[in-house]
């Protein structure tokens, strides 16, 4: 589903070059649930953004769903994101002036899906995340956990093949976080490929595999059950 070959990403900051990613080779299969862990600044978000076609790698090749996306222009990448990828962010990124339904509808607006179909589909997704009675609430009228569920509904509304989540529970208390993780597990059970960036071993433990990054390289690959040990091993509990 996701194939990375020699992916590197360098940022130029003034005269300095920061190698956020170097030589990443990885294959994530369809339906896998993968966590990315590592110390702060190790390149976790950058890797997720490369997979999500939000960041152009400076080297290497990548294919998604057997489509080579290397070197595509920005419009083509936008269409790949539209077709294949759903994003969930730590800070939800809901649009405050739109209600929950409006936020969930948004990807369909830009995909040119007719109005009638949109409302129906958005309501369906809100039902999936258990917020069918909150459709006309603005984000400010929802709790953090509810906002993140709206964000997941939005990410899922165009039926993506891959869900990318960067610290999805980072701003939530453990109960709300648990609900979100359960939701992600349910989606994964239905065959969705999920990649989660986290520094929380409790989150990583629920995944099939964990990629541990260090200085932009994959330092270790371990199974989800080894998350607790890794926390002490890499000191990744600090952000």
């Amino acid at each position: 589903m996701i194939r990375l070959e020699g992916i590197g990403k360098a940022f130029h900051v003034g005269e300095h070059v920061v190698h956020a990613l170097a030589d990443i080779d990885e294959v994530i299969r369809e339906g896998e649930h993968v966590s990315i862990m590592g110390p702060s600044g190790s390149g976790k978000s950058t890797l997720l953004n490369v997979i999500g076609c939000l960041t152009d790698p400076t080297s290497g090749r990548m294919s998604l769903d057997d489509r080579d996306v290397s070197g595509l222009d920005s419009d083509a990448l936008a269409h790949i994101r539209q077709d294949l990828i759903g994003f969930v962010f730590q800070s939800y990124q809901l649009i405050s002036r739109l209600d929950a339904l409006g936020n969930v509808e948004l990807p369909m607006v830009f995909a040119g899906i007719p109005r009638s179909e949109r409302t129906e589909r958005a309501s369906e997704l809100l039902r999936l995340v258990g917020l069918e009675d909150r459709g006309h609430h603005r984000p400010s009228e929802l709790s953090g956990g509810q906002q993140q569920r709206v964000a997941i509904a939005r990410a899922m509304v165009l039926n993506p093949r891959i869900l990318l989540a960067d610290e999805p529970t980072g701003n939530l208390d453990s109960d709300s976080g648990e609900q979100i993780l359960q939701l992600l597990d349910d989606l994964n059970d239905k065959g969705l490929t999920i990649v989660v960036v986290t520094h929380d071993p409790a989150v990583a433990r629920r995944s099939d595999r964990i990629l541990v990054l260090r200085d932009g390289r994959i330092a270790r690959r371990v199974s989800g059950s080894e998350a607790t040990d890794l926390a002490s091993l890499f000191g990744v509990t600090e952000t």
Binding site: L54, D75, A78, R81, Q93
Partner: protein, 400 residues
Amino acid sequence: MTFVDLMRLAFTALIRHPLRAGLTLLGISVGIGSVALLTSLGESARVYIESQFEFIGSDILVILPGRTETTGAIPGIGGAPNDLTLDDAQSIQRSVGRVQLTVPIALGTETVSHGERARQCVIMSTVTDMQDLLELDLVSGSFLPEGDFTRGAPVVVLGSKIARELFPGTNPVGQNARIGDWRMRVIGVTEVRGTHLGVDMDELVLIPVATGMRMFNRTSLTRVMARLTPGADPAAAEVDILALMEDRHDELDVTVVTPGAILGTVSGILDALSAALAGIAAISLIVAGIGIMNVMLVSVSERTPEVGLLLAIGAVRRQIMVLFLAEAALLSLAGGLLGLGGGMAIIQIVGSLYPEFPAATPTWVSGASLSLALIVGIGFGIVPARGATRLDPVVALSRK
């Protein structure tokens, strides 16, 4: 993304900052309002002035004593021209085939009185044919009598307003009026005509030309008006008249003003006026445009994370651009409508204050104002909107 979606996204964004949107809207409405107002006034002035000349008729030439180099200017200031005489007027009518009719005019100012009532009036000394030339109708009595140009009877035709002022409640026809020391018999009263060429026709006092020449002790006419034979070329008629007058006076000492020359001069003045007004309006529009640009820059900067999100959920850059342009267009169009409404309201007020001035907002001005509003909005919105499309999605998303 449908038009409705676009408008909803743009509108909800705008009303989140009502004061900011309101002030920008006010700016653009002042700009567009002044464009609509000044253009309407300019157009109305043109219509008004041209209607004044239409009244004289495009088949009328005016012959003035004296010579000026610039056609269309008012001659007779300085120099000592030969008199323009009644004989000259008659000979033009007789000898110039292209001229059908000439009407001599001598103008003067004198006090007109009846009993206690008196007022200062412009006295137009002329002949019977003037009625035909000015298409004057009478409410009562008759016009100046036909007959010898050189023998003036002590009779007068009063404009309707003068008649009302000097003879309130009675029919002046058959009664006497004084013009200066002259005792005159009122023989007619003209119908209400209003102002033409800056002269209130209802305040005219008409007397036979010979009477006027004696009254004002003049040897020269003030002007001769000549009506062309139907189909005659005014320029050719002008040449004929000048040749005849040169022959009669042994020098070229008259000026012929053609309607084209008058209109040309007037249009020139009006064009300059319009350009000046447009310049003023343009400045206020530029100021309004900068206001829009400023608001859009702030809006893009505030909504940077939103742009990042839209890119992440699959919006292409063109859609982001259209989104922000729609916002600028909505703002400017609303401002344009408000401004146009305000401008039209002021025009209405002007129209009701000066009923004889044809104050109106032409349809093309309304259309042009709104188009201009859109152009300004989109024109000044394009830089901020392009700024939004150039954002890096990851950087945009991480902006707080």
